[in-house]
Every structure is written in structure tokens, then in C-alpha cells.
Amino acid sequence: MTRTPALLLLTSWCLAGQSLGGQALDSALLAGPVTDAWPTYAGDYSQRRYSTLSEIDTANVRHLTLAWVRRLTAGPGSGEGGFFGPPPGPPAITGGVAEEPVTMPGSTSGPPRLSGSILQVNGILYVTSPDNAWAVDALDGHILWHYWWKSRGGTHIGNRGMAIYGDWLFFETPDDYLVSLDAKTGAERWHREIADFSQQYFSTMAPVVVGNHVLVGTGDDLDAPGFLQSFDPNTGDLQWKLYTVPMQKGDPGLETWASLDAARHGGAQVWIPGSYDPATQLYIFGTGNPTPAYTATLRAPRDTHTNLYTCSVVAVNVNTGKMVWYYQTSPNDTHDWDATQAPVLVDGMFAGKPRKMVLQASRNGYFFLLDRTTGEHLLTAKYSDAANWADRINAKGQPVRNPAKDNTVAGSLVSPDNGGATNWHPPSYDLRTGLFYVVLHEVYSMYYLTDTDPRMLVGLGGSEQDDVGSLGTSIVAIDYQTGTLAWKYRLVGGGGGGSGLLTTAGGLLFANDGSGSLVAYGLQGRKPPAPLWHARIGSIENAPETYTVDGRQYVLVTAEGAVWAFALQ
């Protein structure tokens, strides 16, 4: 067990943050694997979601039991509900620019949608849902403060969590603000508008702090351009803004669009946190689909119109905001299969040589392996048996669309469905086995084109998709060196299981089984995992996490509007 050094490191960082009024996260803490704390979206910068904690292991996991559960209530009222009886929490601290906030269940009242990551720093958990943020004692679930943002609206699809820098927290709101809070009190430090609400942007991403940068993305389902922005954590000033589609004459990639107007309305939204490689100072993230989503007629009339930089893995230098490399996983996509799935950083062998790599299991059903220093393509492999939309793999390793599997008036039977072979739900890379675990959905849909005039199609308009069957939902183990599946474990009796994965040095894989249970599986190398422990707590909403407080390892997950913490008896 190597808890003490990490704890000391974390403590010294927090103290420094308090005394200096904000200090960069120790990159050594974040660049290494997850240990006692969970200080960023994926626990560390690599997005492997592999924890070195091993107090809970395959031998004792059957003694894992509920430590506490905290039901949360959204909105301006009391932060703590009556579930399991403790006294009400503190009244919400209110922020926001709307004079009359839009009333939405999950934002202004009722159980929140807790689909984001929860930070754990110095024994305090920081939890978010759209328009709401809480600080909760990691030992017993006691609520320290609750912040509520009065919303002017926007797509309230979820919130992926907060970022922390010293004593300062950062999170996004559906109506396009970046809000910074004092971690100790929940008091607002400042808020900044990060996207134009009238273009129907909505903001869900967990910001990522790298050095002196708060990296912020947004989403949009209309025909608006995507971008990544960097803000100063102290002042909230904009440091740089990188558009993910060409915006001016002469911009690189413009030749891949039918026109500048098409490019400027081309999408490529940045709505899921990226990974960071301290060695190269590259922040690596995925971009969304091109828009209009379901027909390429007006944005990509020719084969060379691949619509850069949509559906791509992109590397940007965090200091300059300049794109260093990109790799497009779905050239000229027509199915809304964005490439926003977590880019996972792995150092290991490939073709007999040590490599610094990035792995992505993409929504389109294909797995991609790239050199993360240069963006060089190393390997493409189909990890979904069902995916049937591509004819072939081209010389660059990209799947090439079969036009017959686009949206058609008569209907085309296509897999994946709109949700994708996988989606934003985080995968996990196991440092012990060298296998990459991904939740795979093999659903088929009939894709119908509902309007034959492409001029009428905006955003996600023009398509009807009817699910007509499934080969099932599985957890798969991808061997990145070959792209083959070491195993495919079918989730019985359920179709969910999409809420993300966690592996630990205790030889365990924690996952939602799609039947309402959090399950601990014992990993057995290249043999399928063995289900060892479960808790049927309802519809699981986020990816499980783990941390240590006072020498005890906890496993944390959200379900049914509540935070659940498990520990050994």
C-alpha cells in the first residue's frame, strides 16, 4: 500500500492552494494513476480509470457493504431530503443571471440527474447535476453546502462534473456559463458566459484544469461551430479559443467542406473532457458530429469533403491553443456518431516497440490506436460485430461509409443505433492486464430520411430512427496491440450498463450491469470476468469511482438521484 505519500502530496497541495489563493494542481498527482484522491474528471489525466487502491480485492469484495447514501434534491430548497432521515442540509446558495429561472425537474426541484464525475479532494466530495453543485463529506455523506444556479434554459441533458484548482471549483451550466466557486464555502467567485445562448449552445462538460488553464467545451444540436476555450482560473479571462471547424478563408481543413458557410455551421462540438499528456503538453480530446447531421448533400457533396475536424481525435498545445495533430475516426459522418468518447492515454509496447499511445473505442463501432505524440495512426479494429455501416477501411485506417446505410426514405437497417456502439460513458484501461474495457451496445435501427430537401434540414432534423433489435449489451476487453477481443461478457437481462467502468489494483472491475445493480467482477486475465458482488440500488447514473479517506477504501456511484458509498465491513 502506498497511500501515505499520495496523501501527503495531496495535503501539501491543498495547503499551498489555500495560502497562495490558488495553485496549479501538482501534475505528478494527476499524471500518475489514481490513488487516494479523485481530483479530476477521470481521477487522473490519462482517463484510464484504473486505481492503484487494493484494500478491496477479489478475496474480500463479498464483504463490501453500504457505508452511507445521500439523497440529493435539486433547486433552491433544502439540499438534503428525508431519505434515511438526517436533518435538512443548508439552504442553497443561489446564483445565475435569469430573473425568472426556467422551471425544470432535476434543476429546480426533485431528484437531480447525477451523471457526472464526483471529485474527492481532502475528504470532501464535489458533486454536480445541471444547475446544482454540492460539497459532501466523503466519510458520511453530510452536505456542507449546496449551490443552485437560476437557469435561463438550455438543453439540460446532464453535467459531467467539476474541476478543482487549489480552493477553487469550476463547472458549466446548461445556459452556457462557466461558474467558479470557493470550495470551502460554495460562495460564487465569478461566472463567465462561454457560448452564445441564442445559437442554442448548451454546456455540460466537466472543465479540465491543466497548469494555469481551465479548459472548457460546450455542446450544440443546431448548426453552430464547435470550440474549445481556455480560461484563467484566477480572473476568468479567456486565454485562447480553438474552433474545431474552419471559420475563416484560408483556415486549414476548409477544403474538406463544400463552402465556408457549411464549415461555419459544421458542428464538431466539444462536450466531453479530454486527456492530458504532461510530457508533450498536449490536451487530447474528441469532437462531435458534423451538422446538419443526417445528410451530407450540402456540406460534403464530394468524396474529398470529409468535414474536418468533426468526429476527430484532436491534440492541442495547452499553452498556445494551437492544434498539433488530428485524426478523424468517421470521415463525413451521417449518423450522429461523434468521436467524443474518452481518449485514453497508455504507454506500452506496440509492434515490438515502446510507444506513447492514445486509445479510443468510438461510437461508430471501431477501435482506434494512435501515437499520441504525433497523431500517427497505428491500428483500426471493429469491436462491434453488429456495425454494418462501412464498406471498407481506407489507407488512413478510417472506416468508409456505405451510402446504402445512410438515412434513406425507404429505411436502412443499420447498427449501431443512434446511441452508438458506446457513448460518453467512460471506458477503463487495466494496467495489470493491458486490456481496454468498453461497454458495447449492438443495437440495430431502421434509419429513415424524413425530408428529401436537404435545404430544410438543420441540426439533428430529417431522420427517424426506430430500434428494431439487439444482439445485446456486453463488456468487452480489447487487446490494443491487435484490436482483437480477449473476451466479450454479455450482460444478461438488461440493456443498460452504459454508465462507465472502473478497474482497481485489487483485480476488480466495477460496472453497472444494466439490471439495476452495481457489480464487482473479478478479473481473470484473458478469461471472462467472474461476477463476485453486487448491490441492487436502481438505475445507475455515473461511472463508479474509488478513493481512500482515513485509511479506508470507498467505492462511490450515483443512482436514483443519490450518492452511494460502499466500503468493507
Binding site: 435561463r152 428494431v468 437481462g493 438488461g494 440493456g495 450491469d513 439495476g516
Partner: protein, 294 residues
């Protein structure tokens, strides 16, 4: 409709393949898309983006008239883009504009370096143009198609039904499929051909068609003693199996290390096995044939 010889109606499926139920219960990996502001309330839910108060119809009509005589040459008569001018309905300035205040200076001054000339229109006229532009729908995401999906050949569909498809092993045009063409709209029939039931059916079936029933999954639980319990599957995981016996009794059993043995039988297994094998042309031809069964 089976491609494989020796097919049995009720294929035995190991527990790990309860895929039909899995898909039926699948929560959307992407939560439901909300309706855009221009579509207004749907199902009583407030729109995510504030709706513009509707302008008086006379103003909208007048704005359209002015637009058609001055702007449509470049931007298209519906403002959705032409040879020279971009689509204005999704334009950033138009979306940001409230009552013509952002559009007016552009119309009156032009954007000369992009080829847009000046127009000597009054601010009142441009305000009316703005009112018309703001009345245009932005998106119809997820709306069911109203187009004619029938492109297939009914004769080829009949041949497939009676021949290569082996459909007659389970189905009959005078039995379960009698009059199916009167009961459902073509798209529902087509989706049902693939799904076998349940999935792919939107609520608006033709007339008073009964809802399509999903046949229940059957389960057999076998204990080490040899004792067996059978019934309709209620739910199953790696840790529990629950069922209803023929007399309606609900029973559930804990599972450890795959004991007791659980075997789920899905009457729709053939349709699941067909998913990777279908040719779209066969689906379209079958649809064209089945809609003739009035």
C-alpha cells in the same frame, strides 16, 4: 423467413443471449433529445430555449412578401440558401436578432466584400422580414417520416416470404398476418418484419390497431438436484433470476457461480439472429408484399 435450414421456432438460448429483452429495455444511451424552441411545448414540457413571442400574422406575411421581392434571388424563396446567399434560418446573426435590430444594418449597408449589396429598405420593412425569418421552423428532429417508404417489389417479397426467407415456418398470410396491411401503416409493418414484435412501433398505428405484443421470454431454472422450475421470465442478472409460473406465482432464486442453471428461450430469437444477415432489398420487398394483405 429463416435463412438457415433446420431452424426451430423456439431456439434454446443460453442465458447470456436474452438480447431481445435487453434491447427492449435499453435505456437511451443518449437521453431523449429535447424539442427545439420553435416547436414549442411537447407533452406539456417547457421548451429548453425561450420561445419568441409570435409576431402578428400580417407582419409575418408582409415580411415574407418583402423578402421574396428583394432577398430570395440570392437566399432562396424560403431563406434556406441559394446559389449565392447562405441559409438565413440558421444564421448566427438571425438567431441572435430579436426584432430586426441586428439585421437592419446589414441589409441597409450590405456586406460588400462577401457580395451582398445594400438595400434601400426601411427599418419597418426589415423588422417585418425579421419577424418572418423568426417564424421559420428550425428543426424537426426525430419526427416520424410521412414519406412513402414503399419502394420494394411485392412479387419478389412474396417469393422471399414463401421461399428463401422461410417465413412460413412461423407465419401465415391467412393466420397471424391476415389483414396486416389494413392494421398497420407500411413503416410499422416494415419495422415489425425486422423486430418480430414490440420494437420499432411508434404509437400512431393505423386506425384502432391493437398494440403489438412482445411474446414473453420463457425461462427454465435447473437446480443441482435436478429439480426444474419453468415460467415466464420476470428479470434476470448474474445474481438472481425471477419468473412467474403458469399459475401466476412469482418466484425468485439467488444464483452463485451460475448455479442454478438458467436457460432463457426467446420466441423471437430467429429475428435476432437475422439482424446481421438482412439485405435491405429483402426487407423492402417483404414490406411491399405484406401491405397487400388487406
Amino acid at each position: 423467413m429463416c435463412l438457415r435450414k433446420g431452424f426451430r421456432f423456439c431456439a434454446l438460448v443460453i442465458i447470456a443471449c436474452a438480447a431481445s429483452q435487453a434491447a427492449a429495455q435499453a435505456p437511451a444511451q443518449t437521453p431523449p433529445r429535447p424539442s427545439p424552441a420553435t416547436q414549442g411545448e411537447r407533452g406539456g414540457r417547457a421548451p429548453d430555449y425561450p420561445e419568441r413571442p409570435p409576431a402578428p400574422p400580417e407582419q409575418v406575411a408582409h415580411g415574407q412578401q418583402i423578402f421574396r421581392s428583394n432577398c430570395s434571388f440570392c437566399h432562396g424563396s424560403d431563406a434556406r440558401g441559394g446559389e449565392k446567399g447562405p441559409n438565413l434560418v440558421r444564421d448566427q446573426v438571425v438567431l441572435r436578432d430579436q426584432n430586426g435590430e441586428l439585421i437592419t444594418p446589414i441589409v441597409q449597408n450590405g456586406i460588400l466584400d462577401q457580395g451582398m449589396p445594400k438595400f434601400a429598405l426601411s427599418a419597418a420593412d426589415i423588422t417585418d422580414i425579421a419577424a418572418w425569418l423568426h417564424s421559420q421552423p428550425l428543426s424537426d428532429r426525430g419526427a416520424p417520416t410521412t414519406l412513402d417508404i414503399l419502394v420494394g417489389n411485392a412479387r419478389d417479397g412474396a417469393a422471399y416470404f414463401n421461399g428463401a426467407g422461410h417465413c412460413t415456418q412461423c407465419h401465415s398470410t391467412t393466420g397471424d398476418l391476415a389483414g396486416v396491411g389494413s392494421r398497420y401503416e407500411p413503416k410499422t409493418i416494415q419495422n415489425l418484419i425486422v423486430s418480430g414484435g414490440g420494437m420499432g412501433v411508434r404509437r400512431r398505428s393505423r386506425g384502432s390497431a391493437p398494440p403489438v405484443k412482445m411474446p414473453p421470454l420463457r425461462v427454465t431454472v435447473t437446480f443441482p438436484s435436478g429439480q426444474r422450475v419453468q415460467g415466464e421470465l420476470d428479470h434476470v442478472s448474474a445474481f438472481i433470476v425471477a419468473l412467474r409460473e403458469p399459475d401466476g406465482t412469482y418466484r425468485s432464486f439467488a444464483r452463485h457461480d451460475s448455479i442454478p442453471k438458467v436457460v432463457v428461450t426467446n420466441p423471437l430469437q430467429w429475428h435476432i439472429d437475422m439482424l446481421p444477415q438482412w439485405r435491405d432489398a429483402d426487407i423492402h420487398n417483404l414490406t411491399a408484399y405484406l401491405v397487400t394483405l388487406k
